[in-house]
């Protein structure tokens, strides 16, 4: 594959491409047709299902955010805060510290 970059960057680009292909294949219309209407998580479709079969049911969480759109909001909030934290430290590691190291050299 000639990606016009040095070998190292080319290799990384291949990894990104594989990720993108996997992600795209997941949302393709072909697979969507196979999939059921609902998209339950494995926590429900496997863990809770087999636990129920064996006579053990999940209890409601102590702080129950699984009500209407509340869970969506909490997930969004958690993703936003987590994303900012990850981005903040990524910047420190990849740019600020890398610059400091270059200057020291």
């Amino acid at each position: 594959m000639n990606c016009g970059l040095r070998n190292a960057d080319c290799g990384f680009q291949k990894i990104i491409m594989v990720c993108a292909i996997i992600m795209l294949s997941m949302v393709s219309p072909h697979y969507s047709a196979i999939a059921a209407d609902k998209w339950p998580g494995v926590d429900e479709s496997v863990v809770e299902k087999y636990a129920k079969e064996q006579g053990r049911e999940a209890r409601a969480p102590y702080i129950n955010t699984d009500q209407g759109d509340l869970l969506l909001f909490v997930f969004l909030l958690a993703g936003t805060i987590g994303g900012f934290v990850a981005g903040y430290y990524w910047r420190i590691l990849m740019h600020e510290k890398a610059e400091t190291i270059k200057k020291e050299k």
Partner: protein, 224 residues
């Protein structure tokens, strides 16, 4: 892999807490020790904590199975920070998820730390170390570490769940049944997690090889 609140009997839930406790305590000790020696360690811990938290609660649809599941992230944190600190990070992520995201539970926190934190981190760490010692490339070693960390986590969850809910029935058939039920979702997700892990390791290797040397992930001679 989050085992929901109240699914495990008290005795099993307590056992998993006892198993997890020394690992979490050792993680705290290592974090304190390493942070005191090297200040640049903290940003990496902060980054990995956020990454593990986000991706272990991020539902990804798997159309081949018609279900959603999430990667674990403990493969990459195990490689970069070592399994002890990775366990600690997973414990914090799982606690927040149990408290506020209706993911997992407080009574099953110990069991979830064992599967995602301990088993996932150690599987990722050892896979990477063994492959690197066999001179396997950084990308392939990272990929396999992410893959095995993910699959090992779900293997452990199957064992925890089967042992906790089996009642009078035999363990092995139930364990196999649960494990097989995870396969359609986790097989492709494990591959995705492997690709994500490889991507992060390779990127750090290109951009900050000094950091990987400092963390003991690679030798100075291997830095590009």
């Amino acid at each position: 892999m989050h085992i929901s609140e109240g699914i495990l009997p008290v005795s099993w839930a307590a056992l998993w807490f006892l198993v997890a406790l020394p690992f979490v305590a050792f993680g705290l000790y290592k974090l304190k020790k390493l942070s005191a020696v090297d200040l640049s360690f903290k940003p990496l811990v902060g980054l990995m904590a956020a990454v593990v938290f986000i991706i272990s609660c991020m539902p990804i649809p798997v159309p081949t199975a018609g279900t959603c599941s999430h990667p674990c992230g403990t493969g990459i944190s195990g490689i970069l920070l070592g399994p002890a600190i990775s366990v600690l990070i997973a414990a914090v992520a799982l606690l927040i998820q149990a408290l506020f995201l209706s993911h997992g539970g407080l009574s099953t926190w110990g069991a979830n730390i064992v599967s995602m934190g301990i088993v996932g981190s150690f599987a990722g760490y050892f896979t990477f170390r063994v492959l690197r010692s066999l001179k396997v490339s950084m990308a392939v070693a990272g990929f396999m570490a992410g893959l095995f960390a993910d699959w090992a986590t779900y293997l452990a969850t199957s064992a925890e769940l089967a042992s906790g809910i089996k009642g009078d029935s035999p363990f092995l058939p139930l364990f196999t049944k649960i494990l097989i039920a995870f396969i359609p979702t986790q097989l492709p997700l494990g591959i995705l997690e492997g690709a994500m892990t490889a991507g992060m390791v390779v990127l750090l290797y290109r951009k900050r090889p000094d950091l990987l040397v400092k963390m003991g992930v690679i030798r100075k001679a291997d830095a590009v």
